[in-house]
Symmetry: C2
Subunit: 454 residues, 2 copies
């Protein structure tokens, strides 16, 4: 295939766009055969060949392009997908074809894997209570230790340069000497192979010879004293800045979320909430036991003995007519940034009702239909963000100034522009970065066409 | 309209079934005009007129019946819906028509309101910290008090007869005298009108003149002493039996879930988990504060200060080929009963990954695609059940005998029969009752047709 010769390349790209607009499958096949380019190559308006074909009703070309892996949800610079283009130009054949492709009967629903949600380890919960096996695993040559000090993560020094980040893993040989001299919590994470970049759902659980992973949180370590991060060409993330913990490779984010959430629980649950006596860690991090034998928490399973996970609802609300979405701004947000409405669930609520309540409390907007989108673990300290998309039944805004600085309706082209220009945008609306579930909720709404109910 | 004359009625019902099978819209219209019967009237095989029309491809009759409110998800005694019947008889026109009706572009997704999830009150969280307003509300004539003793609910005496149940509400005049003599927790629930039987999403929050609702939990009350339930023609539900709390009117179940969950939290969190000192209730039930001023929980928002809600995943797993579903049995279940696999989420997990992990841990079955269905609050003590439907990628069963007594694949006709025959079934598979989210997950799977991916 051709590469490097930019004039010839430009010629064939033009041919591809022309062929797409004309419905010439033979010519478009030839164009792609000559070049090593994405099926979603764009022109200066951000149009893809799929959009050109959809604009002119050429279902044959669309079939070819989708087979090549063209993304039907790609947006042009006006925030339109191929389906939006087809609808605008009344190309019923294209609309039906794309709808059929986007909502097939048999293809699996794509599950969004969010940052902090990349689950690469088999947690092997049955191992946790087997102290002998665990102690053996700790000493294995391929055992890996993730290190925290006061819940701040040890990352490689490239972090400082602002580049994408890696966790520093220590070996048993490196970690052992500190365990006897620095006060710490040590927990088991699971077994797997982070380097493979595969989800546990893809590997279908641990393989022989995979590494056991552990996490250690050193408490009140004086940082240039016993444990010196410099020795490992690393630094601890800053207490007041979560930025570095948000710049990890995605395949390491889930491991860090698990480790930090469980370790934060041990920081906060040194005493029994039911009787006030001390508690001790059990099961390599997944249980705490009250030392008072008369405490009622010893009878039956008692939730205070197990890690706490706080469910948070986060919702993109579309306006009554579907053309706008509701975003709110907290005063601590970066300049220009607005995000989805979010809040903690309360006892005795369904997920959908919690979302309706939060939106009403914070913005005054009344929400009807609510649909689940995806979920993201959030380790500050231990939340599960439940992402939803909803539709307003009454658009009137009445902002609760204690919770929000502002809440507004934004129209689709404006939001599409904010997504395309990214988090670093200098003026106008700024939406949260890819690492936040809010980004994906907003993007999903923008990509939905006018036929969608939400 | 006709009623009481059973011979004539039988004649017109026969006419309706014949007309449906023949595609005679005029005759079927006439039949329904003569009778006051459901569009889902069934014959002795459990077939509805819609099924007869679908069987023979009469889209005109199907349109008429659906317009009359016929339920396309109704099952006959073989567990088939109209769509299943149409598919079996290769009636492509009927299949397309029903698919179009079942998956329309614009109609709202129906949200399942589960037992304990009926949210009729506007919680008015902003009121909770306003002690003066709250004290005024407590003394209002239309204020209503839900009463617990040791977390057991006061219900009307009809409970004992096994009939559907009502909460006993006390007035300020009745409750006031006990508050000074019996140790108790008192919390605010919200404002609304339970009797209306409307969800807060339907009323769109409180109306003027609606009642404020409170809940009181009397601690260690000797039951025939200060507070005597007999005075109010009521009884407390039994400590070891949740049955009566599951027999409430649906519109009262959400109020009870909210009250019991929050009150149970106060039972368990009398001490600060971070420093071990005592805590006190604030904000009429929605916060606890450590009495030690030096405690770190006073700095910033600290999750230990707020009610705990534990997320639980519960999943119906379909087999790889879609024909069977996985159900498990705990030894404490009633005879014959199997249910969906469930378990607590762990920190740092997405909802979908937690479900895959639980199924693998308890049954050895490996799950691929997972789809959200609905959620149900569960007040024992304060869970949120997150209902999912998933598809196995590997069907091999390997039961964890610590967690489950048994786990098996059940085929669709068997499960359909169990649903149709109800919870009281004497032999064969028994599925959980309507009050459990598991029932609805199982039913949804049975009702899905063979074209569905899950």
């Amino acid at each position: 295939k051709m590469s490097g010769n930019s004039n010839a390349q430009k010629y064939y790209i033009d041919e591809i766009f022309t062929a797409a607009a004309n419905g010439d499958v033979e010519a478009i096949t030839k164009g792609y055969n000559m070049l090593s380019i994405s099926p979603d190559v764009t022109d200066k308006m951000g149009w893809t060949p799929l959009m050109c074909a959809a604009r002119n009703g050429h279902v044959n070309v669309m079939g070819f392009l989708l087979q090549q892996g063209a993304d039907p949800k790609h947006m042009n610079k006006s925030g339109q997908t191929a389906l939006d283009v087809a609808s605008f130009w009344n190309q019923t054949g294209s609309v039906n074809f794309l709808n059929g492709f986007l909502k097939p009967n048999k293809s699996p629903v794509m599950e969004v894997v969010h940052y902090f949600g990349f689950s690469a380890l088999d947690r092997q919960s049955y191992q946790r209570s087997d102290e002998n096996e665990m102690k053996k695993a700790m000493r294995m040559e391929n055992a890996k230790y993730v290190v925290f000090a006061d819940l701040q993560l040890l990352v490689s020094n490239d972090a400082v340069t602002g580049k994408s980040q890696n966790v520093v893993y220590l070996t048993w040989g490196e970690i052992e000497k500190y365990l006897s001299i620095v006060d710490h919590d040590l927990i088991f994470l699971g077994v797997g192979n982070i380097d493979k970049g595969l989800l546990v759902r893809e590997t279908h659980h641990a393989q022989l010879n995979d590494s056991p992973y552990f996490a250690v949180n050193f408490k009140k370590v004086s940082r240039d004293d016993e444990f010196s991060p410099e020795k490992y060409n690393g630094s601890f993330t800053d207490k007041d800045n979560r930025r570095l913990m948000m710049m990890l490779q995605k395949n390491e984010s889930g491991l860090v979320a698990q480790a930090r959430s469980v370790l934060a629980w041990h920081e906060r649950y040194n005493f029994c909430p039911t009787c006030g006596n001390e508690t001790i860690m059990k099961d390599f991090g997944y249980k705490r036991l009250c030392i008072s034998e008369s405490c009622t928490t010893h009878k039956g399973a008692h939730n205070t003995s197990f890690p706490r996970t706080d469910p948070v609802v986060i919702i993109l609300v579309a306006s009554k007519d579907g053309s706008k979405c509701l975003l709110g701004r907290q005063s601590r947000f970066p300049r220009g940034m607005y995000s989805c409405i979010a809040g903690f669930m309360e006892p005795g609520e369904s997920i959908e009702d919690a979302a309706r309540r939060e939106v009403f409390e914070e913005s005054g907007v009344k929400v009807g239909q609510v649909e689940y989108h995806s979920s993201q673990p959030w380790p500050f300290p231990s939340n599960i963000m439940i992402g939803l998309i909803g539709r307003a039944v009454c658009d009137d805004i009445n902002v609760d100034k204690v919770e929000l600085e502002d809440a507004r309706w934004f129209d689709k082209p404006e939001v599409a522009k904010a997504i395309l220009e990214g988090f670093g945008r200098k003026e106008g609306l700024v939406v949260p970065p890819h690492t936040a579930i809010a980004h994906h909720l907003i993007k999903t709404w923008v990509q939905r066409n006018s036929n969608s109910n939400l």
